[in-house]
């Protein structure tokens, strides 16, 4: 069965590593749904969190192929039940009148967003959370007219002390 899987990859923080990792997905015929990259708790190592749409066999193959890359130190799949997944999203939404503005600001509270910019006819929100929560907010705001969306894609870590 095909579904989204979240893989966390610890890699050497060197030029070309991102290309190697993403190139591997392309070459083996897997589609990256999202990817986030940043430094990790270890100096000179970076962590990539990649969401890939695959079946179990494909996922296994992706993990093994990633492990073969000399610059890849560790590959783990994050179980959605025992990991925390968060994404940041900036949304610029139209607020043509006072009513719209009030309503959008109410949603902001419900969804625990931050207002990061306001101008005459638009508000820019920053929302952090599970991708599902962000999707829900976007759906609501569509009624007002969304000017721009910028999403980081989810990053994730496992819960508790497990790796």
């Amino acid at each position: 069965m095909f579904k989204n899987h979240t893989i966390s990859i610890l890699v050497e923080n060197k030029p070309g590593v991102l290309q190697k990792v993403t190139g591997l997905f392309t070459r083996r015929g897997f589609n990256i749904e999202s990817i986030t990259v940043g430094s990790s708790e270890v100096e000179n190592l970076a962590r990539m969190v990649i969401v890939v749409y695959a079946d179990l066999k494909g996922l296994e193959q992706v993990k093994k192929q990633l492990n073969k890359l000399v610059d890849v130190i560790k590959v783990i799949e994050l179980d959605p039940n025992s990991s925390v997944k968060r994404e940041l999203c900036l949304i610029k939404v139209k607020t043509n009148d006072a009513k719209a503005r009030t309503e959008v600001m109410q949603y902001t509270e419900v969804f625990r967003c931050n207002i990061v910019d306001v101008c005459d006819h638009a508000i820019t929100l920053e929302v952090i959370g599970h991708p599902n929560k962000i999707n829900a907010l976007i759906k609501l705001l569509k009624n007002y007219g969304i000017k721009k969306i910028a999403r980081t894609g989810p990053t994730a870590v496992s819960r508790g002390l497990v790796l």
């Binding site: 890699v11 070309g16 190139g23 070459r27 192929q65 000399v70 610059d71």
Partner: protein, 571 residues
């Protein structure tokens, strides 16, 4: 010491005695260092042949092959060979020139992003951007190229790095914490596998190139004889067991031997070692080993479960794992059913001898290969190109030692055979080397006759000349309604005159017996010769059509015993 001198020193520290290359603008400083060095350089006539020669060198010797080319077009000409080495797990280090560091990214003259271009087809790559790192990068490249599952490593070497002076020549360890090939093999898995072997009535071994790479042939022989399992091989596995032996059933697959193809699916236990279940080997994967369990031993964990689900995976080097098996099985009493199966297949192998004795004009490819086979010693290295002649060779030649049959397996690179034979000859000066080529593939690389002549390499070049692009021609005839699109290669050139123009003896072969005679004489006289052998264009090798099960062989073999048919091999 400048960078050029440093890399030559570092290469020699890795045991390199020969490199294959072609100069160009961004490697002039390196070639300048080479001018005073005792490292042997073989000047090829096209960079693609430098990398194929390095592959042939590596495959024949077991050492890492090294090739050198300039930046841009020189480097991109290496790509086919790098991809070939990657598919066939051949350890090579390809050194490419590069424009100066500050010019990189500016589309400088002869600039190409060779690291980026080669990324999907290399095991690893380095760009040298500090002079003092040269010795360490060379060491790390060799370590990566030859350990675990071997493969190609690219070292991109900017021109200024070749010219600059090192502050200190020192080899330090480059840490690659992400690179730890599992070589050991898990004893628990081995024990579980032994239990399956004990219960098996029809065990069979599929041996791949991994046996040859790890030098596990003796252990494999012992293992097969202990558990009474006949051995079939992949193309890359030819020579993993002595093919003259009765239990060695020969190559399996699209052009596999009939006894192997017709019986493998009767097995209740397949033990696959050092192979990757290529579609050319298994036929339709869903119908491969339908009623049996599979034990898969490979050093590359990604190969396990990639093409076929296995019951017992064992990750490790074939030699180590087979030693563990043989230790577990010291007092092993084979299953009586397995003995029966083993003896039955041995007898079948003896019975299903293929006819090779034809008196036709042009010659039959079977006859030619048989004659080549008859003129070989066990130490002769046969290097084939890719195509119909390759499959005839793989099918009709018996190879009795590892590293004596070299062919482009995974990538199927036409133009591989001749330059790879040059590399093999350079690596093994004392062993006769025969290149078996088709007319099409030879013409892709025929300029290397100059290399053969220049270095006085006593290479025997056989061209099975049917004036066709034979393999495609066969497919068009069998599978594409005889629509013979662009597979007639005409009658140019005259290969004998071509050889002679390079100062190499050539001879046209038209009669049975001549091939053997000429080759034997050439081996005795230790001189280069080109045999242009006129063969039948319409003689096809039976095949398993793509997408069919491995026992569904299209086309009939001629057996020595004329009463036998393909189907009898299944009974």
């Amino acid at each position: 010491m400048n960078g050029g001198e440093a890399i030559l020193k570092a290469l020699k520290e890795q045991g390199v005695d020969t490199i294959f290359g072609y100069p160009g603008g961004t490697v002039i400083p390196l070639y300048d260092s080479l001018y005073d060095d005792d490292l042997r350089h073989i000047l090829v006539r096209h960079e693609q042949c430098a990398v194929h020669a390095a592959e042939g060198y590596a495959r024949a010797s077991g050492k890492v092959g090294v090739c050198l080319a300039t930046s841009g077009p020189g480097a991109t000409n290496l790509i086919t060979g790098i991809a070939d080495a990657n598919m066939d797990s051949t350890p090579i280090v390809a050194i490419t020139g590069q424009v100066n560091l500050d010019a990189i990214g500016n589309d400088a003259f002869q600039e190409a992003d060779i690291i980026g271009i080669s990324m999907p087809i290399t095991k690893h790559s380095y760009q040298i951007n500090s002079l003092d790192s040269i010795p360490s990068i060379v060491k790390s490249s060799f370590d990566i190229a030859k350990t675990g599952r071997p493969g190609p490593v690219v070292i991109d070497f900017p021109k200024e790095m070749q010219e600059g002076e090192l502050s200190k020549y020192e080899t330090t360890l480059i840490e690659n914490p992400g690179y730890n090939p599992t070589l050991g093999g898990n004893i628990k898995q081995v024990k579980k596998a032994c239990e399956l072997i004990k219960q098996s009535k029809n065990p069979i071994i599929l041996a791949g190139g991994g046996i040859i790479i790890s030098g596990a042939n003796k252990e494999l022989e012992k293992f097969a004889k202990t558990i009474k399992a006949p051995v079939v091989t992949t193309l890359m596995g030819k020579g993993a067991v002595p093919e003259d032996e009765e239990y060695a059933l020969g190559m399996l697959g699209m052009h596999g031997r009939i006894v192997a193809n017709k019986n493998i699916n009767k097995s209740d236990l397949l033990i696959a070692i050092g192979c990757r279940f290529s579609d050319r080997t298994t036929g339709k994967i869903e119908e491969f080993i339908p009623n049996g369990k599979i034990i898969h031993i490979d050093v590359d964990p990604a190969e396990i479960g990639k093409n076929i689900d296995v019951d017992i995976p064992i990750v490790g080097d074939a030699l180590n794992v087979l030693k563990m098996f043989n230790n577990q099985l010291t007092k092993y009493q084979p299953n009586p059913n397995a003995v029966k199966w083993y003896d039955g297949l041995k007898n079948k192998k003896l019975k299903f001898n293929l006819k090779t004795d034809y008196d036709t004009n042009p010659l039959m490819p079977q006859t030619v290969i048989k004659e080549i086979s008859d003129s070989l010693t066990d130490d002769t290295i046969v290097v084939t190109d890719v195509g119909l002649h390759q499959m005839f060779a793989a099918h009709y030649l018996n190879v009795n030692k590892p590293r004596k049959f070299i062919s482009s397996g995974g990538l199927g690179t036409m133009g591989y055979g001749f330059p790879a034979a040059i590399g093999a000859k350079v690596a093994c000066e004392d062993d006769p080397v025969i290149a078996i080529c088709g007319d099409g593939g030879f013409l892709m690389v025929s300029q290397e006759l100059a290399t053969v002549q220049t270095y006085d390499l006593p290479l025997i070049i056989t061209i099975l000349d049917n004036r066709k692009l034979g393999m495609v021609y066969q497919w068009q005839n069998l599978l594409y309604n005889k629509r013979l699109s662009q597979t007639d290669l005409g009658t140019v050139p005259d290969f004998v005159k071509l050889a002679e123009s390079y100062g190499i003896n050539g001879v046209n072969i038209t009669k049975p017996g001549e091939t053997k005679e000429v080759i034997k004489k050439a081996i005795k006289d230790n001189e280069a010769i080109l045999l242009n052998i006129d063969i039948q264009k319409d003689e096809f090798l039976p095949m398993v059509p793509p997408g069919s099960a491995v026992e569904e062989v299209l086309g009939d073999y001629d057996f020595e015993d004329e009463s036998l048919t393909n189907e009898d091999a299944a009974k």
